[in-house]
Amino acid sequence: MLERLQHLLGIETLDREQITFILDQSKPFQEFQRHPLKKLATLRGKTVAVAFFEPSTRTRISFTTAAARLGADTMALQAESSSLKKGESLLDTIRTLEAMRPDGIVIRHSSSGAPEFVAARLEIPVLNAGDGTHEHPTQALLDALTIRDRKGKLDDWNVTILGDILHSRVARSNIHLLGKFGARITLCGPPMWVPRELDDLARGLRRTPRIEEALDGADVIIVLRVQTERIHEPALATEEYILGYQLTAERLRLARHDALVLHPGPMIRGLEIDSAVADGPQSGVLDQVTNGLAVRMALLYHLIGGAPVDAPHPAKERSNAAD
């Protein structure tokens, strides 16, 4: 029996059934994005607090748009806001938000574990929109949806993750998720960013510092952004990174001919990825953005709407659309 999720804190604690359920529920919302009237009344009267303690554009816009299309109102807190600059504690900030009675909270924070901290102290559902170098569960779910759509299934692919794995929450969530679906995962990047302790995250992980080896036979390639803001080590020269790890059209030919290329964005063209690849037919980058909306709508609907798991899907009922 599928249990209703209370929070979405990470992928690690989810099972295959729960992940599949979220992806299935995202499907109708995906089609809904093409509808001329993109507004449902499903969460009308509900309020979602969108608390971004770390600067972000795309994830924040995606969540607020997802909430709006479900009919919910949002209240936003941003990293630049004054209470954070004045040194208010996380606890006081979230208690203040809670006093305005939101029905759920989406949180992005630079400290790993911050969403769990919030979930332990508030009564409302908490959605992790990325915490430190821990997890970014909605990214992994939208990546999974993109893989399932573009490649016909989610199970058993050869997946290569390229870049700064050590400092990437996207990598961790993807390793947890794809690992549960039998992926053979290869991690590749500058060796100091691909430590052996990563082996523990999923079964059959492979690490290599050589991109040619990592791309050989890959079905899915996830290119990570070089997270300059999170790197405490002496920085690697940009030219060195490009030389060793940029995904170029030429290197992409080492992978399977139909390999799918994903990137969580924001992309730095000419650094981790070449424009020819980013804009090429194998790129799933724009699908990822649209799928992000669908996944986040599904999560907001289930976590905040509180509907039973077997309720009829709101996006399938035309009568639900508000005018």
Binding site: L91, S111, S112, G132, E197
Partner: protein, 420 residues
Amino acid sequence: MLLIKNGRVLDPATKTDAFFDVLFEGGRILKTGANLSAADAEVFDATGLIVAPGFIDLHCHLREPGQEMSETIETGTSAAARGGFTAVCCMPNTEPVNDSASVTRGIIERAAASTVRVWPIGAVSVGSRGEALAEIAAMKKAGIVAVSDDGRPVATARLLRQVMDYSNALDLPVIDHCEDPSLFAGGVMREGPRSIRLGLKGIPSQSESISVGRDVEVANLTGARLHIAHLSTFGSLEYVRFAKRMGLRVTCEVTPHHFTLIDEDVRYDTRYKMNPPLASRKDRDALLEGLADGSVDAIATDHAPHHPASKDVEFDHAPFGVTGFETALSLGLSELVHSGRLSLMRLVELFTTGPARVLGMERKIAAGEVADLTIFSVDQPWTFRAAESLSKSRNTPFDGRAFRGAAVATIVAGRIVFRR
């Protein structure tokens, strides 16, 4: 006069393990022997209990002066007495830092009213900034028992050499908090599979052992006394063993949380955040071995109280440290003795003659000796509740833990200062 009757006396200094009575008068032990009686003495019946020399804690933070939100000498020593400690050495990282005789005197004056002996440790360098030497001779006159820049390592090998030479002449040990700042680099827990999984910045164990290696070399250079604080890794312990084999005067302490918990226990709960961080299972097992084979000289709490609000934050932002006075003995009993790893005598040694030797002192139960005793039960069941702690702070991972054995009476200068 106070007469302790019917107890099992364990005294590592004289290798005594026997049933006899102990009689005190005027803060000293008057006599020991079977079936003692004294007409006007208060009698404490220690039937079924262990009577040991008074416990000494080499490493704690009483937070006074300057951080009274977290602890005061009064609350800290009350918690220490409850844990069976008769004397505690407080680290100098207060506000201001204990780097001058006037701060030392202030601590000693404030401690005069407390029930447990307070032995301050002076700073190695002015403000513990790692530059100029603090006024160590003046502090020694005022009452310090050792020097340390605890909270951070002695900044350079050169400064360590200077302070070891200088303190040697004053007969004071140098206590070092060993870490390599460039490897530590903003880490919040031990580097390993668990830190990777949690996405918390890791500190490699070599951050500590590299620094211990440096210190042992400087001890070899100077011949002075060196004590390694809160040793937590296999590598560090091997350096200490090497130093001991070389005949150097190098000692070390291990904390109860490091011999009890490991990095796999860490979760997003700031009560598991301390420095050094909880070590790997392999390192912890090495500590257990060192505690058993004599490589480790003392158990020290590193009692580090922090005001609840300062700990109720994101893991990254919380200060390092856990409280430890009230759980140290019980953790020692459950993790080391009841588990069969250590004899009861060895455990008592780690709390008494071991730390005393680090300070160049003696501890024993004999006529004429100071009447500091710790009386404890090895099997009395109890549950530690942080809310009931006598410390001002609650930052302990052992809240709610069930134990067998605890201090039953703490006696300082012939007076019962705590009784369960």
